[in-house]
C-alpha cells in the first residue's frame, strides 16, 4: 500500500476519472429512492399540478449548492474534503465535520439498502428475508469499491445508458393512461405553492456533495463545474418526466395516497401486441441498478473518509463498515420510519452541503489565497 504524505493516500495517477465519468457518478448518486416517491412527497407540499415547476426549481437550487461545493474543492487541488477541511477550520473542527459527513454517507447508504429491500420485498421477492436481499447487495458493492474510484466510474458508465433508455421507454409507454387535464391549470393558485415544495424537491437532488470528494480524482478538475451541472441537469429531466407522467395519470389527489406512485403508474397499464405487456420489471431493473450505484458511492465515500481521517489503509474500513451500514438499514421499524429516516437525512444534507460549504468558502476567502499560490 502507498505510504507517505497524506495527499498520496489512495490517490495515485491511475486512479483518475474523466469529466464525463464525474458527471455520471453525480447522476447515479442523485437517482435513488426519490424517483419512486418524489411525485408524492412533492405533491403533498405543492398541492397543485405545478409540481414539475417545483422540481425544476429544486434542481436549480441544487445547482447553486453544487457550484459552491465545486468552488470550494477547486481551491485545494488533488485533495478531498476530508484532507483539506483542516486547512480552513483547524484540525479538531475539521475532524468533527468529516466524521459528520462520514455519518451522513453511512446513514444514506443504510437508507438506500433499506428502501431497496422494502420495494423488492413488496413487489419482486415476496417472502425473501430482508437480510437475504440486503447482504448480497452489500457484498457486491464491497467487491466493486475495493477496486477504487476507477472501476466504480466505469461500472456507472455501463449502468447509465441502460437506465436512461429503459426509463424513457417505460415512462412514455404510460402515455396510455396520461390525461393532460390532470396537469392543468398551470400556476392556477399563483407561484406560492410552487415555492413551498422547493425544499422537498431540492432534497431529491442530494448527490452533488460527492463533488467534495471526487473532484480530487478528476483528470481535469477545471471542468468540475461543468460536470456537476450536467450531472444535475439530466436528473432534472428524469424527475420532470417522472412527475409529469405520474401526475398526468394519477392526478394530484390520487398521487398523495399512494406509497410508491411511480411503481403504481407502471403497474396501471398493460400494452397488448408488444413482446411485453407489463413494464414493472423493466423499471425495477433500472431502479435497482441506480440504488446499487448510490449505495456504492456511499460506502466508498464513507470508507475513504475514515481512511483519510486516520491515515490508514482503506480496505479494513470497507469491510468494517459493512455491518455498520447493515445495522443502520435495520433501524427503521416500519415503512414510516424508513421515510422519516429519509427526511432526517435530507435535513442533515441541507446543513452539511447547503450551508456549510458556503461558510467554508467564505472563511477560506477571508484567510487568503495562499493555497492556490502554493501550487
Amino acid at each position: 500500500m502507498i505510504k507517505g504524505s497524506e495527499s498520496e493516500v489512495m490517490i495515485n495517477s491511475k486512479d483518475r476519472i474523466t469529466t464525463p465519468q464525474t458527471a455520471i457518478v453525480v447522476i447515479n448518486f442523485i437517482l435513488g429512492t426519490g424517483i419512486l416517491t418524489l411525485p408524492r412527497t412533492a405533491a403533498e407540499q405543492v398541492k397543485t399540478p405545478d409540481v414539475w415547476l417545483t422540481v425544476i426549481l429544486g434542481g436549480i437550487v441544487t445547482m447553486i449548492a453544487a457550484i459552491i461545493m465545486v468552488k470550494l474543492s477547486r481551491k485545494f487541488p488533488g485533495k478531498t474534503f476530508y484532507q483539506y477541511s483542516k486547512e480552513i477550520t483547524g484540525k479538531w473542527l475539521s475532524k468533527l465535520i468529516s466524521l459528520l459527513m462520514i455519518g451522513y454517507f453511512l446513514l444514506l447508504g443504510g437508507f438506500h439498502a433499506r428502501s431497496l429491500a422494502e420495494v423488492t420485498g413488496y413487489l419482486l421477492l415476496e417472502g425473501t428475508p430482508t437480510w437475504a436481499i440486503i447482504m448480497p447487495f452489500m457484498w457486491i458493492s464491497l467487491y466493486l469499491i475495493r477496486g477504487g474510484i476507477n472501476p466504480i466510474a466505469r461500472l456507472f458508465e455501463i449502468i447509465f445508458p441502460i437506465t436512461v433508455i429503459l426509463f424513457l421507454l417505460v415512462a412514455f409507454m404510460s402515455i396510455k393512461i396520461f390525461e393532460i387535464d390532470n396537469l392543468r391549470p398551470v400556476l392556477g393558485s399563483g407561484v406560492l405553492p410552487v415555492l413551498k415544495g422547493v425544499k422537498t424537491t431540492a432534497l431529491a437532488f442530494t448527490g452533488p456533495e460527492i463533488m467534495l470528494i471526487i473532484l480530487a480524482f478528476m483528470k481535469e478538475p477545471h471542468k468540475a463545474g461543468k460536470a456537476a451541472l450536467v450531472g444535475i441537469t439530466i436528473p432534472i429531466f428524469i424527475y420532470v418526466i417522472t412527475v409529469v407522467m405520474v401526475i398526468g395519470a394519477l392526478s394530484i389527489d390520487g398521487v398523495v395516497i399512494r406509497t410508491w406512485p411511480t411503481l403504481d403508474l407502471i403497474r396501471s397499464f398493460e400494452l397488448t401486441g408488444l413482446i411485453f405487456e407489463r413494464f414493472d420489471s423493466l423499471l425495477l431493473v433500472v431502479w435497482i441498478m441506480q440504488m446499487f450505484a448510490s449505495f456504492t458511492i456511499n460506502h466508498y465515500a464513507a470508507s475513504l473518509g475514515l481512511s483519510q481521517l486516520f491515515q490508514k489503509n482503506i480496505h479494513p474500513f470497507m469491510y468494517g463498515l459493512l455491518p455498520v451500514i447493515y445495522l443502520i438499514s435495520m433501524i427503521p421499524k416500519n415503512i414510516n420510519d424508513v421515510f422519516k429516516l429519509g427526511d432526517v437525512i435530507g435535513n442533515i444534507a441541507l446543513v452539511l452541503f447547503g450551508f456549510l460549504p458556503l461558510l467554508l468558502l467564505i472563511i477560506s476567502k477571508i484567510k487568503g489565497v495562499k493555497y492556490e499560490t502554493n501550487l
Binding site: G188, G254, S268
Partner: protein, 403 residues
C-alpha cells in the same frame, strides 16, 4: 507457509463454488402449474352459494357477517390443460367460485381452504361490482384491499352491473373466458359513443380522492350473454352509486365531453320522417366557464366532422349541397336533443356533475373553483348551460343520389 496458503485458497474456492449453487434457486418460488390464475372478480350483496350453505349448516365456520359475496373467475391448471388438448369433450374454460363474508381479503384467503391451487391475482383483468352493493357501500372501502395488494395490479378494469355481478362472469360460449370478453369489449370505443373511457383501479382511486362525481360503465347480463348498457353514477361525496344513465344519455354525455372516438347519430327527417344516420369521424367540444360575481355559467361549443352513412330518404341527391345541409340540420337537432336530455338528467334528477364541467372550472377559473368545490354538485344543478352544435357532413360514402 506456502502450503497453508494454498489450502486456504482451495477452501475459499470451494466455498465460492457452494455459494454459486443457491444462485440458481429461488427463495420463495411457487410452481406455475400449482396455481390458479384469477382473471376476474365480481362483488355482490351477500348470498351464500349452495355449497357454502351446506358448509355452514355443518358448522365449524368462522365469525362473519354475510354482507358481500365475491365470485372469482379462475383459470385453474386442470381447466387450462383440458382446453389445450384437442378432441376432448367441450367444456367451460374457466371456473367460478363464490365466497361469502364481510372482508374481501378474508374471502380470498378462505379460498385456500377449498382449493389445492390457491388463487393468485396478478392477472386480474376485470372487477364487476353490483348495483345493490355499490349503493350500500362506498367504493373506496370495497376496493381498498385490491389497491393495497402487491399482486393485484391497479390496471384491473372496474365495472358496475345492474343485475347480479356474478352473472356477468358467466358465458355460454364454449372456450370463452368472460373476464377477457369484458376486458376486450372496452376497446370498441372507436365504434360507439356508448362506451366510457376505461376505468382501471388506479383511476378509480384517483377519482374517489378528488371527491367529484363520476361514471362507471354498466354491464348487463341476460341468458349467458353480456352487454354494456349505460353507466352507473357514483356520487363524489359518498363514493356510493346513486343511479344510472342510459345509452342515449351516454351519447349526449360524449357530445358534451367531446371524448367520443366514433359512433353515430340517428335522426329522422322532419318533412318525410325518414331515417338519416350521421357517422362521427371526429368530435370536439369546448366547455367555457363564465364567472360573474357569484354567477357561474357555461358555454359548450360542440363541433364534429362526419359522414352521411345511411339515408332512407326517397328523394334528394347527396350530390346536392342543399340535401347535405338538410341532413346536417336534422342531425344537429338530434345532438342538441341528446345534450339537453342528459343535462336535464344530471341537473334535475340526480343533481350531479359527471360531464367534467367542474373540471373545466378548476382549470380555467381556479380561484372560483376553490370557492365552490365543496358543494359543487349542488351548485352545478342550478348553473345555466348554453350550447351550440355544429356538424359538418364531409361526404356520403359510395352512393350519392337516388333515382
Amino acid at each position: 507457509m506456502k502450503q497453508t496458503f494454498n489450502h486456504f485458497q482451495f477452501l475459499l474456492v470451494l466455498f465460492s463454488v457452494f455459494l454459486l449453487l443457491p444462485l440458481a434457486g429461488c427463495w420463495s418460488s411457487h410452481e406455475i402449474e400449482e396455481q390458479s390464475f384469477g382473471v376476474g372478480v365480481a362483488y355482490d350483496k351477500g348470498k351464500e352459494s349452495l355449497a357454502e350453505k351446506e358448509f355452514d349448516e355443518q358448522g365449524e365456520g368462522y365469525t362473519k357477517k354475510n354482507l358481500i359475496t365475491s365470485t372469482y373467475q379462475l383459470i385453474t391448471p386442470q381447466v387450462a390443460s383440458s382446453t389445450t388438448k384437442q378432441g376432448g369433450q367441450q367444456q367451460k374454460s374457466y371456473v367460478n367460485i363464490s365466497e361469502t363474508g364481510d372482508s374481501p381479503f378474508q374471502m380470498l384467503r378462505e379460498l385456500s381452504l377449498r382449493s389445492d391451487t390457491p388463487l393468485t391475482s396478478p392477472h386480474m383483468k376485470v372487477m364487476v361490482i353490483s348495483e345493490a352493493l355499490a349503493r350500500a357501500y362506498s367504493l373506496e372501502q370495497l376496493v381498498d384491499q385490491t389497491l393495497r395488494d402487491n399482486d393485484f395490479r391497479p390496471s384491473c378494469l372496474v365495472f358496475i352491473s345492474k343485475g347480479r355481478a356474478s352473472d356477468t362472469l358467466e358465458s355460454k360460449t364454449v372456450g370463452e373466458i368472460p373476464a377477457f370478453h369484458l376486458y376486450g369489449m372496452i376497446d370498441n370505443s372507436y365504434r360507439t359513443t356508448r362506451i366510457l373511457p376505461p376505468m382501471p383501479l388506479i383511476k378509480l382511486a384517483s377519482k374517489i380522492q378528488t371527491g367529484s362525481s363520476f361514471l362507471m360503465q354498466n354491464v348487463l347480463s341476460a341468458n349467458g350473454e353480456i352487454k354494456f348498457a349505460g353507466a352507473g353514477i357514483i356520487k363524489g361525496e359518498t363514493s356510493k352509486m346513486i343511479g344510472f344513465l342510459n345509452e342515449e344519455e351516454l351519447d349526449g354525455l360524449a357530445w358534451i365531453t367531446g371524448k367520443g372516438k366514433g359512433g353515430l347519430v340517428k335522426s329522422f327527417d322532419k318533412k318525410t320522417g325518414q331515417l338519416i344516420v350521421y357517422e362521427i369521424e371526429s368530435m370536439k367540444s369546448h366547455i367555457q366557464p363564465h364567472v360573474k360575481g357569484d354567477n357561474i355559467s357555461f358555454d359548450v361549443h360542440i363541433e364534429s366532422v362526419g359522414r352521411l352513412s345511411e339515408s332512407w330518404m326517397t328523394s334528394g341527391s347527396a350530390f346536392n349541397n342543399q340535401f347535405l345541409k338538410n341532413a346536417q340540420k336534422t342531425s344537429e337537432k338530434k345532438v342538441k336533443h341528446l345534450v339537453t336530455n342528459v343535462l336535464e338528467k344530471m341537473q334535475t334528477k340526480y343533481k350531479v356533475d359527471v360531464a367534467g364541467f367542474g373540471n373545466q372550472l378548476r382549470i380555467k377559473q381556479p380561484r372560483t373553483w376553490m370557492r365552490v368545490k365543496e358543494n359543487w354538485d349542488q351548485t352545478f344543478s342550478e348553473v345555466p348551460i348554453n350550447y351550440d352544435v355544429k356538424l359538418t357532413i364531409k361526404d356520403y360514402g359510395a352512393s350519392g343520389s337516388k333515382k
